[in-house]
Amino acid sequence: MRRFTAALLPALLLLAPPAFAATAVTGTLRLSRAARSAAAKHGGKTPQAGVSEGVVWLEKIPERVEDQLAHPDPPWFLFWRQPEENPPLPVIAQEKETYSPRVLAVPVGSSIEFTNPDRLYHSTFSVSGAKRFDLGKTPPGRRDTVEFSRPGVINLHCEIHPRAVGYVVVTPNHAYASPDRSGHFRLPKMPPGRYVLHAWHPDRGDLRLPFDVPKRGSVALTPTFKD
C-alpha cells in the first residue's frame, strides 16, 4: 500500500495546486530555558511536566490552506465517502473537580460539548473576552453545547469548585497542534512564506515566534518560554 502511494505521489504532485508544494512545520515546545538545556543533553527526549497542556498554532495562514484544512478532501481512494454531516463534537467533562481535558484547542467556529458525568453538581462559566458564557449549575448527566466563534484563550471556571480551572484555546485557524509529553508537535504543512508561531501554555502564558518556511527542506522550531 505504501509503495503504491509512493509511486503515485509524483503524479499527484503534478496534479495538485501549488499549495501542495509545502513543508511540514515541526518543533519542540520548551517550558523554560533550563528545560531546553536539559533536553539538549538527553537528545530532546526528556519529558517535560505539563508541556502537553500547551497549544501551538500559526497566527495567520493563507485562506486557501485554511479551506483545505477545514474541509479536507477525503483521500481519492475513499471518494465515495461523503463528509460527515454532524461529526462528533469535542467534549469537556467535569469530573472530580477538574475539567477533563484541562486544555482543549479547537479552531474558531467550533462547538464544544460540556458534560457532567459526575455525581455532583457543577457549573461552568467564562468571563474571557473571546467568549463569555455561563452554563449555570449543571446537574449530573447534563450536556451543554457552546460554540466558540472568536479566537482566544477562554478560561473555564466552576463556581462550585474553585480549583477546577479549564482552558479552551480557540485558534484562528486549523493550523494548530498540541505537543506530546516531550513537547514535540507537528503542524500542517505550509506553503513557503513568513509565519508567526503562537505558543500558549496555561502556566507560562503566550509566546510568539516568527519563522520562515523555505521552499525546500523542513522547519524545526524550538519555542521556549522565558523563565
Binding site: 462559566f125 467564562s126 468571563v127 474571557s128 473576552g129 473571546a130 463569555r132 482566544g152 484563550v153 477562554i154 478560561n155 471556571h157 466552576c158 463556581e159 469548585h161 474553585p162 480549583r163 480551572v165 496555561p202 502556566d203 502564558g205 503566550d206
Partner: protein, 607 residues
C-alpha cells in the same frame, strides 16, 4: 445635768438603732466610695482597652476570613485570571461590578482589587486607600502572604487585610479589604463598655462618641500636654474635668497593628457620673431610711416610755401632794402589772401615813396645849405664893426668926426660878402656836450682850466659869426684839456654863457683817456626841433619859433643865428670820452661833 426618766429611756432605746443606722451609713458609704474610686475605674478602663483590642483582633480576623473567602471565589478570581489578551473592552467595568457585588456581601469600608502586578483594578468601598498608605500591605500580599495592618488615611484609620488571590496554582492579584476604625466602632464599643471612645490620627480626632464640643476640646487640650511620640504605647491620664459637670478618667493607647511612626491612638474615657449618681442615690436612700428608722425609733421609745412613765408620774404627783399634806389626791393607776401593784401599795401606805401623821399632830397639839395651859395655870399660884412670901419677908404676918428669914429668902430664889420656867414654857407654847409677836426696836448689840451675860452670871452664882465677851463691832445697833434676844442668848450662855466644868471658860463674840448679826457662844465644856447635835438640829431639843434627869437650883455642872432653853432660843432666832448653827466635839466644847439678818439701814443710822 439631771435627766428625767423619760429622757433616759429615750436615749437608751435610741442608742442601738441610731448606732446601727450610723454604722450602716458609714460602712455602706465607704464601700460605695471604694467601689467608685478611681483605681477601680482605671482597672475598668484597662479592661475596656483589652476588650477593645480584642474586638479589633476579632474584627481583623473576621475581615481576613472574609477576604480569604472572597479571594477563593471563582466568580472573583476568574476575572483576575484573565491575561491582557483575554480581556474585552468592558473588562474594567466588569471587575468593578464584580467587586461591588462582593462588597454588597462583605460590606467593608475599603474594597480594592489589584492585579498580579499591584495595579489597582477596582475600588468599590465607601472609602479609598491612598497608594502610600497601602503600599506596604499590598506589596506583602504580592509576595504571597496575607498582610494585616492599619491604614492611616490622614484623618481616618482602617483595619486592613491584603490577601493574595491564587487561581490554578498561581497568584493572579491582591484583594485589599479595610474596615474603618471610626464612629461606628466607637459607638459599638461605648454600648458595650460604657466608655467614651475617641480615635486619633496625630492630634486630630477622627471618630469619637463624645457628643459635646466642650468635651472634645478638653480632650484635645489634655492630649496636647502629653508626649505621643513613637515610644509611647499607652498613657494613663488622671482626672479630666470637663468644665461644668463631667469628670473623666482617660486612657490613651496606640491602636494595635499601627506602626510606631504613625501617631494613631485610641482614647478611652470613663465618665465618673454613673458611679457618682449611684453613690448619691445610695447615700440619699440610706439617709432617708435612717430618718425613717429614727422617727420610728423615737415614736416607739416614746410610746414605750409613756407606758412606764404615765403611771409613775401619777404616783409622783400623788407623792408631792402627800408632801404638801394632801393625802386624798387620786392616783388613778389601774393596772395588773408591777406598776399597778406599786400604785396600790402606795395608796395603802399613804392611808397609813395619813393616820399616823394625824395622830402625831393631835399629840403635838395636845402637848402644846398642855404646856400653854400649864404655864398659865402655874403663873397664878406662883404669884400668890410670891405674894405670901413677900408678906412673910416683910414681917407683916409676924416677926420671923433669923432662920425663918433665911428660908423665906431661899423660897424667893426658887419662886423666881419657877416663874422663869413658867414664862419660858408659855413662850415656847406661843412659838409652837406661832403666836409669838416680836417687839422690834433699835438696840445696841453691846447692851444685848451685856444684859445676857449679867443675867447668866447671876444664875451661875457659885460656879467658877469665866465668861468673856468680845465685840467685833462695838458700836453696832440692830433692830430686834432685844428682850427676846437677850432671853435667847442668856439660855445659850447658861447652857454653856452648865456644861463647862469649873475653871472653864465661855466666850461670847458678836459681830455685824454682810447684813447679818452673828453671836457665837463657845464653851470649853464637855461637848456633844454627833447624834445629840443632829437631834438638836432637827428636833430643837436633845433627847434625854427622863429617869436620869438631874435637876438643880443653880447651874451646877452637868445638870439639866427642862430642855426648853435651846428650843426657846431657836424659836426666837427663827422669829427674827435667822438660825442657829451648832459645832461640837465631845470633850472639847461646843459653839452655838446665832445668825440673824439685820436691816442695813439700821446700821447706817447707828453709824
Amino acid at each position: 445635768m439631771r435627766l428625767g426618766l423619760r429622757w433616759k429611756i429615750l436615749l437608751l432605746t435610741l442608742l442601738a438603732p441610731v448606732t446601727l443606722a450610723g454604722a450602716t451609713l458609714v460602712l455602706v458609704n465607704r464601700d460605695v466610695a471604694e467601689h467608685t474610686d478611681s483605681s477601680s475605674l482605671h482597672e475598668n478602663l484597662s479592661h475596656s482597652a483589652a476588650v477593645f483590642e480584642g474586638m479589633l483582633a476579632t474584627r481583623l480576623h473576621a475581615l481576613e476570613g472574609g477576604a480569604r473567602v472572597v479571594a477563593q471565589d471563582p466568580r472573583f478570581f476568574s476575572l483576575l485570571m484573565l491575561g491582557i489578551s483575554q480581556r474585552d473592552t468592558r473588562f474594567d467595568a466588569t471587575v468593578r461590578g464584580m467587586a461591588h457585588d462582593f462588597n454588597q456581601i462583605t460590606k467593608t469600608d475599603v474594597f480594592e482589587v489589584f492585579d498580579r502586578r499591584g495595579r489597582l483594578l477596582a475600588s468599590v468601598g465607601e472609602s479609598k486607600s491612598s497608594p502610600d498608605a497601602r503600599a506596604a500591605l499590598v506589596n506583602r500580599a504580592l509576595g504571597g502572604e496575607v498582610a494585616t495592618g492599619v491604614l492611616a488615611e490622614g484623618t481616618a484609620h482602617y483595619q486592613a487585610v491584603a490577601v493574595p488571590v491564587h487561581a490554578d496554582g498561581r497568584q493572579v492579584g491582591v484583594l485589599l479589604m479595610g474596615a474603618e476604625i471610626g464612629s461606628a466602632l466607637a459607638d459599638e464599643l461605648r454600648t458595650q463598655m460604657r466608655c467614651e471612645v475617641s480615635f486619633l490620627a496625630g492630634r486630630t480626632i477622627t471618630g469619637t462618641t463624645l457628643s459635646r464640643a466642650g468635651e472634645r476640646q478638653a480632650l484635645l487640650e489634655e492630649l496636647n500636654a502629653i508626649d505621643l511620640g513613637p515610644a509611647t504605647n499607652s498613657v494613663r491620664l488622671g482626672l479630666l474635668r470637663v468644665k461644668s459637670d463631667k469628670e473623666f478618667l482617660t486612657l490613651v493607647r496606640r491602636i494595635p497593628g499601627t506602626s510606631a511612626k504613625s501617631s494613631q491612638f485610641y482614647v478611652l474615657q470613663r465618665a465618673f457620673d454613673p458611679e457618682l449618681i449611684f453613690q448619691h442615690t445610695m447615700r440619699n436612700d440610706l439617709v432617708a431610711l435612717a430618718a425613717v428608722a429614727l422617727i420610728l425609733a423615737i415614736a416607739t421609745s416614746f410610746i414605750f416610755s409613756e407606758q412606764i412613765l404615765l403611771p409613775l408620774q401619777k404616783l409622783v404627783r400623788g407623792a408631792r401632794e402627800m408632801e404638801e399634806g394632801n393625802y386624798d389626791h387620786p392616783i388613778g393607776v389601774r393596772r395588773d402589772d408591777e406598776i399597778g401593784y406599786l400604785a396600790d401599795q402606795f395608796t395603802r401606805m399613804r392611808a397609813r401615813e395619813q393616820a399616823y401623821v394625824k395622830s402625831l399632830e393631835r399629840a403635838t397639839r395636845l402637848k402644846s396645849e398642855f404646856i400653854s395651859i400649864a404655864s398659865h395655870e402655874l403663873r397664878t399660884p406662883i404669884s400668890v405664893l410670891a405674894g405670901y412670901r413677900d408678906l412673910l419677908a416683910e414681917g407683916s404676918l409676924g416677926k420671923l426668926t433669923a432662920r425663918q428669914t433665911k428660908v423665906v429668902e431661899s423660897m424667893r430664889e426658887y419662886l423666881d426660878r419657877l416663874g422663869r420656867v413658867a414664862e419660858d414654857a408659855a413662850m415656847v407654847a406661843e412659838m409652837r402656836d406661832e403666836r409669838l409677836s416680836l417687839d422690834r426696836k433699835p438696840a445696841p448689840v453691846a447692851a444685848i450682850l451685856q444684859m445676857s451675860v449679867d443675867s447668866a452670871k447671876e444664875a451661875a452664882t457659885g460656879r467658877n466659869v469665866e465668861v468673856v465677851t468680845k465685840l467685833e463691832t462695838p458700836d453696832g445697833i440692830v433692830n430686834v426684839d432685844s428682850q427676846a434676844l437677850v432671853q435667847a442668848l442668856t439660855h445659850l450662855i447658861t447652857n454653856g456654863i452648865r456644861f463647862t466644868p469649873d475653871g472653864g471658860r465661855v466666850e461670847v463674840r458678836a459681830g455685824l457683817g454682810d447684813g447679818r448679826l452673828a453671836i457665837a457662844v463657845s464653851d470649853t465644856g464637855v461637848g456633844m456626841e454627833p447624834g445629840v447635835v443632829e437631834s438638836l438640829r432637827t428636833l430643837g431639843a436633845a433627847e434625854r433619859d427622863a429617869a436620869h434627869h438631874r435637876s438643880a437650883v443653880g447651874l451646877e455642872f452637868g445638870s439639866g433643865g427642862l430642855g426648853l432653853g435651846f428650843s426657846l432660843a431657836r424659836g426666837i432666832v427663827s422669829a427674827h428670820g435667822g438660825h442657829i448653827e451648832i459645832e461640837s466635839r465631845p470633850g472639847k466644847g461646843s459653839t452655838f452661833t446665832m445668825l440673824l439678818p439685820v436691816d442695813g439701814q439700821e446700821r447706817a443710822e447707828a453709824a
